[in-house]
Subunit: 143 residues, 4 copies
């Protein structure tokens, strides 16, 4: 299974008055990893916004919280492709503290749709190839 690793740090903006990461912000870290991953496979958000005739809305997201994260905590997000369907794909994210403890996980489901009609379309070939190539590469990308 190929893995794409992103290193981040919990900043004050991500925390709340309970002293820990505000729950919705775990998905911010997941999405940041997803954006870097899309750049890595040649499908950056900038290029999709500028020049593609499709969009990739998220239709489902979920998150588990396995341990508290505090300001200054370094984390790694390990992104894997969990599934590639006909017009959707699923990304999973494992979030670990520096000592390796799993502190959270997320999953996001992405659908490809025509930019104008907003109707579901099969994943465009170029994106499908990039996703499949990464998934089958057994890569462990840690830039």
């Amino acid at each position: 299974m190929s893995t794409f690793v992103v290193h981040s740090t919990v900043r004050l903006q991500h925390t709340d008055a309970a002293g820990i990461l505000f729950f919705a912000n775990q998905l911010i870290f997941a999405h940041e990893a997803y954006e870097k991953f899309m750049e890595h496979i040649g499908h950056s958000f900038a290029s999709i916004f500028d020049s593609s005739d499709y969009i990739i809305p998220i239709v489902h997201a979920e998150a588990d919280y396995l341990g508290p994260l505090r300001v200054g905590d370094a984390i790694t997000v390990e992104l894997t492709i969990e599934n590639i369907g006909n017009s959707s794909f699923v990304i999973a994210y494992y979030i670990r503290a520096v000592d390796g403890t799993e502190v959270g996980k997320c999953r996001t489901v992405h659908v490809t749709a025509d930019r104008n009609s907003q109707s579901k379309i099969p994943i465009p070939a170029s994106l499908r190839n990039a996703l499949e190539r990464f998934r089958e590469s057994s890569a462990h990308v840690d830039p």
Copy 2:
């Protein structure tokens, strides 16, 4: 089934460059409804932070996205208690546009834990009573 309704509006801060609500911010609207609900049943976050010996971390969250939301869109969040367990409870949120279309839903799972030890504890009686009283009241609270 009792329902607690919160009215909100999508603001520029909630949107992203795709022109619609940034996915993680749907959970912001859910949590805002949850905070107002907790105030309504007499267990405001302010009082929990100031004077309770327990905390109520979220251990799981999920969201479905059923339609795009844009800046200025008025929404209603309908909150219901989906389950009350021994040391956890589940809140569900149905998000509708002004015309009644369901545009999203969320679910959050909350655990009660001792503030010092951070270990799971049974839902304290006062909170359990407030949750159960609301759930059994068949109320439709739309402040």
Copy 3:
């Protein structure tokens, strides 16, 4: 001097691990008031995004913090038009706690620019009229 009042509440998402409002989020409350004000004078963001040939970027923002705000604190934002220039206008925001104490203030400077060329243009007549009409109305709008 005309005033447009918006009532808000500090939510968990706005706070940070110091237990108080994260400083940048004071500008979120100011901008929310600005969006409601623009709707009030008939120039909603939705209408500007959909159908105007100009944009109104913010070129300067500033904020003073006069007292701590905590989760659950109710606030009022009092918006006034501080200046209307040739191609820019200035909005000021006074933020008060429920007891009337001033807890913060902000100022934002907005420039009108052509949507395509991005060059500065004089404030379009319809917007200028709406801004001037409000400023001269001695209104105290508290919806």
Copy 4:
């Protein structure tokens, strides 16, 4: 003049429906640089929260917006200490695009206060020394 440089990237979460960086989020980048800087000089937020008897609230912030930033844009934040007073200090931030164009600047004013009484106190010696040592080092730290 010593400079501390932080590299960041504009992510989808930072943008809004106008297609560019949401104005308040420029201060997020500034504060992230400030947090990294404080770690660099040995006064991390984690250590201040855990073990200091003082707090360092921001009492003023301001931002200028000199050019639009879009999703995926790499930026550098150059942090300098603009002033060290008796019980306050001022940090300035120059934000540049990859081609060196200045796209924004910020300034934040920080006050030292007793954690319990919340009253202003002179900048504690250890923090003052760290700030002065950095300012006088003519360093250009680009980690």
